[in-house]
């Protein structure tokens, strides 16, 4: 522990830590380009200048270890003058493309300029030019002119992705970022450089020109792409006269799971969510009202009491699974998760991506939901009604020679509805909240519930109507069904995220 004074305020900080870390930790605005907590210091941009008492010249906060009793000034005319000069230098050859730059609105160069910019150009010679619209591969587009040469992207490919595709070419004014000859960005994490780039030099080809960022609203969520369960921001917007659309996922800092990054596959999986829009309940292939379809589900359940098999997916949240069990108990039905766990060895790696692609497969085991083929076959023999939840793989049933009634409750649109008694759409992953247990046993609550299809209800609501017990929210499910059963005895909805033993 050490004490330092910053702009007259006494702070308690860690001795020896980098000054910028503690300043940012204490929410003190300190402009910086090259420093990033995941990449460390580099000291090349000189934006993070502060005055330190006893030092003749301003110092960079990102390469100054903290000493007890330091007196630091981050504000004032003198330090502003230094920052203004740095920005002037950064902007000498900058194209000022803001109107066509996707970064505008979340650009550090814009932000710092608004704070301490010079506002008047003193440049009399032509700007040096670089290449624009360079496709670096992996959905990353480079604009060399907008680059401030902070080398965050280079250091990412060196230290994190360890693929080393990027480097700085040429000298001085002519320095540009480029891939090494004959290479392209190839890491499955490459798109993280777009988030790392503090300006609009690296932009996302998939997001390019789709939306100005200031229209976007963000919600916090957990990715359902694999068993890791990375933390995300989901950026969405509802245009006037249109439905909600998700435009992109961004990594959300979670030191226990994914750190600052997510994989590209997860990042692009937002498309699945948008693809779930525009579905309607179908009764024997005919579009129906959702209230009527729910009534039909209840009727079918009563008719097939004791002879129903719920075939659930591993993408359901813990709350949804336990509620399905509750319904099954009430109506004396079987619950199976046969075929819900799937491994994809080509997907997994040693960083974030897991071969186990089920977002909540661990919960099946913890809730004792049988995924074995034997149990599934026995149950199927007795069943006269199969309700698939969160999946619509009718072929699994066909393969076993099942020919009785089928009900599908799923987020995905139905491809062929032949022989399906009832199709009831349920909210997709980002349209309903829920908790998921990741590969390390961490129970994480995904709060994101964007009304992507206003007529489609979350599974919890559908089941609450079936049971008619008014348990709609995740919190209520935890109180009524989860917190009193092993292994969730010490867990309550309020203390999520929490790690349990698998």
């Amino acid at each position: 522990m050490a004490h330092i004074t910053v702009d007259g305020t006494l702070l308690e900080v860690t001795e020896g830590a980098l000054l910028i870390e503690e300043l940012l930790h204490n929410k003190i605005n300190i402009p910086h380009f090259c420093y990033h907590p995941s990449l460390g210091k580099d000291g090349n941009c000189r934006m993070c200048m502060v005055e330190i008492e006893g030092q003749k010249r301003p110092q960079i906060a990102c390469d100054t270890p903290i000493k007890n009793g330091m007196i630091v000034r981050t504000k004032g005319a003198k330090i502003d003058q230094v920052k203004r000069a740095m920005l002037e230098l950064e902007l000498i050859n900058h194209p000022i493309d803001c109107p066509i730059c996707d970064q505008a609105g979340e650009c550090q160069l814009q932000n710092y300029y608004m704070d301490v910019g010079l506002y008047e150009s003193r440049l009399s010679t032509p700007k040096t030019h670089g290449q624009k619209r360079v496709d670096l591969g992996a959905n990353v587009v480079l604009d060399q002119e907008r680059c401030v040469l902070c080398t965050r992207c280079v250091r990412f490919t060196q230290n994190i992705a360890k693929t080393n595709e990027l480097g700085v070419l040429k000298r001085a004014d002519h320095s540009v970022i480029t891939t090494f000859p004959g290479t392209q960005l190839s890491s499955p994490y490459a798109m993280n450089v777009v988030d790392l780039c503090p300006v609009g030099a690296l932009t996302n080809k998939d997001f390019r020109f789709h939306k100005r960022v200031w229209f976007l609203q963000s919600q916090e969520a957990i990715c359902n792409g694999c068993a890791r369960g990375c933390s995300l921001f989901v950026d969405h917007h509802k245009e006037k006269y249109k439905e909600e659309v998700i435009y992109r996922y961004r990594p959300r800092l979670n030191v226990d799971v994914n750190g600052y990054f997510i994989c590209d596959a997860g990042r692009l999986s937002y498309k699945n969510e948008n693809a779930c829009q525009g579905v309607h309940p179908l009764i024997r292939g005919k579009i129906s009202e959702s209230e009527y379809a729910e009534g039909k589900l209840l009727k079918l359940l009563k008719r097939h009491q004791g002879k129903t098999l719920w075939l659930i997916s591993s993408t359901l949240s813990v709350e949804e699974m336990v509620r399905v069990q509750q319904v099954a108990r009430t109506y004396g039905s079987f619950v199976s998760a046969y075929g819900a766990l799937y491994e994809d060895v080509s997907f997994g790696d040693t960083f974030l991506k897991c071969s186990d692609r089920s977002s909540n497969g661990r919960s099946l085991k913890l809730l004792h939901i049988d995924a074995s083929e034997g149990y599934f076959e026995t149950a199927l023999d007795e069943a006269t009604l199969v309700i698939t939840v969160g999946r619509n793989d009718v072929d699994t049933l066909d393969a076993k020679g099942y020919s009785n009634s089928v009900v599908i409750v799923s987020q995905q649109p139905l491809e062929a509805c032949e022989g399906v008694e009832l199709f009831l759409p349920m909210s997709s992953h980002m349209a309903r909240d829920g908790s998921f247990i990741n590969i390390d046993g961490r129970i994480q609550y995904s709060a994101c519930a964007i009304p992507l299809s206003p007529d489609v209800k979350p599974l919890l609501s559908i089941l609450a109507n079936v049971l008619n017990d008014g348990v709609f929210t995740c919190k209520e499910v935890w109180e009524h069904h989860l917190s009193d059963r092993a292994p969730f005895l010490d867990v309550s909805f309020e203390n999520l995220p929490i790690k349990i033993d698998l």
Binding site: C98, P99, F209, R212, W214, K240
Partner: protein, 166 residues
């Protein structure tokens, strides 16, 4: 942000008596009355729509137009500043990649619903590229269907600036 202090007018004794102001107003009324009665050609009103106004200046906020570059191509880069500034939220833009080498970005769709528009001029002020203007002088806009009031990019590009006549 600074605070601008505006001095309040009308505090003097003359102002507070009201009588001089009333006489001032009556003087104007009487002057018009006498001019109109002595020479009808000087009457300020006219029989619209047979007679069209001739005093619409270039500062008048008429129906919008999208301006063009020197090469005749669209100037707008689909930056959405106008749509952001618009209080009526009646500008609908969809951006696309511009392939002709002039720029990187342009609008695929750019429509203004003039039924929703309040003609505030906010879009013109907001545009960083001088790509939208309201200097067409079109002050009356007639159509048979509601849909026809939703002006497309092509329509907005076809509008020209009003020729200065004054």
């Amino acid at each position: 942000m600074g605070i601008k202090i505006v001095k309040r007018e009308g505090g003097s004794l003359k102002d507070r008596l009201y009588i001089p102001a009333i006489f001032g107003g009556m003087k104007t009324t009487l002057r018009h009355f006498i001019t109109n009665i002595s020479d009808t050609s000087k009457v300020k009103t006219f029989s619209y729509p047979e007679v069209q106004p001739s005093d619409i200046t270039s500062r008048y906020r008429g129906i919008h137009r999208l301006t063009k570059r020197e090469d005749g191509s669209i100037r707008c880069v689909a930056c959405f500043m106008c749509a952001t500034a618009c209080p009526a939220e009646c500008i609908f833009i969809e951006a696309k990649e511009r392939e002709d080498g002039v720029d990187e970005k342009m609008p695929e769709i750019f429509t203004i619903d003039v039924l929703e528009c309040v003609f505030c001029g906010g879009c013109v002020e907001a545009c960083p590229c001088d790509a939208i203007r309201m200097d067409t002088g079109i002050f009356s806009f007639v159509a048979l269907k509601r849909e026809d009031f939703v002006l497309t990019k092509e329509r907005l590009l076809s509008h020209e600036a009003k020729k200065e006549t004054l």
